[in-house]
């Protein structure tokens, strides 16, 4: 890469932003990502050579930057994106991970997947078409997955004569819809032309009326704060470390990734579900004892008392326990093409580091994700459908609402016959 990245210690300490992109089939999403990579100087010569050669072979008018994001053979042949692809780029200010998800209607599940780890979503709109059904669907999913920052990218401004009026119409229309979504706290609309590069990395000379940031500038500077919960102490035990060596004869460490709150040596803790209380002896690591551990860090905790603790248990603090219940209410997105979800169906449910069995007690409703209307007369979930269900689990889950904590409020359902992941769930 021929970027002007400073090589100093500071560069070892950069911020990481994960974002997802959503657009309909011809909104120019791949071109936008290609443009971001190319104009921010994150492409390589051999990649560009391959792209130029393919563009020429296909008879494209321009060097088709969309080809930079093409992956599998089927995609190149059919000119489509079939799955979530992850892209990486960096500027001197930040590192970025893009979850590149296709916008086609049958791929809702891919967008849900990409959104589950994203801090920000770029929702693309074709300036000629404005806000369409799929735009609403993308905004709804971003909200459902609790993405707080959204960029509305109004693309193909070159095809509407870079019209300010048209841009404002689209933004107003989007805001009318988005006002019904409450997890999105920060929305920025940017008029762009991914094809020509207007307002993607470089400021457009065609839209003097637009005074906001370019897309890259916004991505580099948007304050993400912390998407992690640093209030409710939650440490799902992932693995018990017992060295059985002379040096560490009695060592018993609980390894895991902090899912919420802050842990320090000396802290009083309660181990769930047993309810035993003890204190943290140390937070161990290969680099020596640590003063604290907080989300999303992985660490190893030792305790003052010997308590029987295994994978799936959770170390928490007194006075702020997680919810503990076998009756769960959740929103789900159905992922399976071959099976449908119905009342009384049984699945494996994987939540934090725990796996239990779960039975569907009731389908409360499904959501028409284009109108946000509830559907109450159809109790069967098919591929890409979203709605609310109630579940009963074989053992209590230790959880928080998804809205409060993504790590302790999310689960997946696994088909016990095929082992496929068939649903993503967000606990209410």
């Amino acid at each position: 890469m021929h970027t002007d990245i400073p090589i100093d210690e500071g560069y070892l300490h950069m911020d990481l932003l994960r974002f997802t992109t959503a657009g309909s089939v011809d909104d120019g999403k791949s071109t936008l990502i290609g443009r971001l990579l190319y104009d921010s100087k994150n492409t390589f010569e051999d990649q560009m050579d391959a792209v130029e050669a393919t563009s020429k072979k296909r008879g494209d008018e321009h060097v088709n930057l969309a080809l930079l994001t093409d992956g599998l053979r089927a995609e190149r042949e059919q000119g489509i994106t079939i799955d979530v692809a992850y892209r990486y780029f960096a500027t001197p200010k930040r590192k970025f991970i893009i979850a590149d998800t296709p916008g086609h209607i049958q791929y809702t599940r891919n967008m849900v997947t990409g959104a589950s780890t994203a801090n920000l979503a770029i929702i693309l709109v074709d300036a000629r078409l404005g806000v369409i059904e799929q735009t609403c669907r993308h905004a709804f999913i971003a909200d459902l997955l609790r993405i707080r920052h959204v960029i509305l990218a109004v693309n193909k401004m070159d095809l509407v004569d870079y019209s300010e009026k048209r841009f404002n119409e689209i933004v107003d229309e989007f805001k009318r819809f988005a006002s019904r979504l409450d997890n999105i706290v920060d929305m920025v609309a940017i008029p762009i032309s991914a094809l020509h590069g207007d307002n993607v990395v470089d400021k457009s000379t065609n839209m003097d009326w637009y005074e906001g940031p370019t897309m890259l500038y916004h991505l580099e500077t948007v304050y993400i704060g912390s998407d992690h919960n640093h209030v409710d102490a939650r440490f799902p035990v992932q693995w018990v470390i017992r060295p059985h060596s002379d040096e560490y004869h009695d060592f018993r460490g609980y390894a895991g990734r902090v899912a919420g709150g802050v842990f320090r040596p000396g802290d009083e803790v309660v181990v769930q579900p047993s309810g035993f209380a003890t204190k943290i002896k140390a937070i161990e690591s290969f680099d020596g004892p640590q003063e604290s551990a907080f989300a999303p860090l992985s660490c190893t905790i030792t305790l003052e008392d010997e308590i029987d603790i295994s994978r799936g248990d959770m170390i928490t603090k007194p006075n702020n326990p997680p919810k503990k219940d076998q009756e769960i209410e959740a929103m789900i997105c159905w992922f399976s093409e071959s099976t449908q979800l119905t009342t009384n169906a049984k699945y494996y449910l994987r939540h934090t580091t725990k796996e239990v069995k779960a039975i569907v007690k009731d389908v409360r409703y499904k959501v028409n994700i284009n109108t946000l209307h509830k559907i109450e007369d159809d109790k069967t979930f098919r591929l890409n459908e979203i709605g609310r269900i109630s579940l009963r689990t074989s053992a209590p889950l230790l959880y928080d609402s998804y809205r409060r904590n993504r790590a302790t409020g999310s689960f997946i359902l696994i088909d016990s016959q095929t082992n496929e992941t068939v649903a993503a769930g967000m606990i209410l």
């Binding site: 890469m1 970027t3 090589i7 560069y11 070892l12 300490h13 950069m14 911020d15 990481l16 390589f44 010569e45 051999d46 990649q47 391959a50 992956g71 599998l72 089927a74 079939i82 799955d83 979530v84 692809a85 992850y86 990486y88 960096a90 590192k95 991970i97 599940r109 891919n110 589950s116 912390s226 992932q238 693995w239 470390i241 017992r242 060295p243 059985h244 060596s245 560490y248 460490g253 390894a255 895991g256 990734r257 161990e284 690591s285 989300a295 860090l297 992985s298 494996y348 994987r350 934090t352 580091t353 993504r406 790590a407 999310s410 689960f411 997946i412 696994i414 082992n419 992941t421 993503a424």
Partner: protein
Amino acid sequence: MDEERTSYQVNHLAQLESEAIFILRETAAQFERPALLFSGGKDSIVMAHLARKAFFPARLPFPLLHVDTGHNFQETLDYRDQYVADLRAELVVAYVQDSIDQGRVQEEKGPFASRNALQTVTLLDAIEANKYDACLGGGRRDEEKARAKERFFSHRDDFGQWDPKNQRPELWNLFNGRKHHGEHFRVFPLSNWTEMDVWQYIKAEKIPLPSLYFSHQRDVVHRSGAMLAISDVVTAQPGERVETNAVVRFRTIGDMTCTGAVYSEAADMDTIIYEVATARQTERGTRADDKRSETAMEDRKKEGYF
């Protein structure tokens, strides 16, 4: 409050490290017989280092598995043995030569023969013989376009094959390692790392590397756009340009028949990081095995390649 929040900011390397350690522990927890694929290349070295951190102060709960083509650089093997001793880890070596001797694979003939493709059979045989149900690999999504679609937990059918159109969705921190008898998983804890992240991490963690990664002099032959080290298994053919004492280093390390060198005077970490930041070719641009066709990697992965 704001001030306190700021102190909980985690830089990109710490985030990537935490994620990789989570995946390594998840692999140990969800599978009965995992193994860590170790080639002596920088990605697998970083993997072994992360595994050491993940299970400290215990030893690794799984062996390192090296698929030895018999065409390795001696420096790689020396490094491997030293590193394994330092880790006090168990090393299992599967030899491509054995697969050839057993008639499991046909060795390519001619001066351009490579054992790279044969590794797949040796690897799959080793997985079956040792009943490994998960192989941890150092693959990264930024390496190659087919890998951009790869999962952390990558399901393989009972033929060891990857089906890119039928992958399990991965959300949040939840990884589904359930499988039927005979199936196995490839697990890629470094999925979200870039080449730059790997180098920065090696620097930050002061991880020793094989000398091949640093600038040195060696005799090379120019072949199909790549620059290969001349050795017992790579000899110059008539008409090929040979360069003696070229000042080179390797950006990736694999089999000698397909790992290309680059001109470089970078002799320390800082210079290498600068070189990576300013490189105009992708890392695998030096790999002859990817040049066989535009979808070379995709085809090999479907067959069960690393």
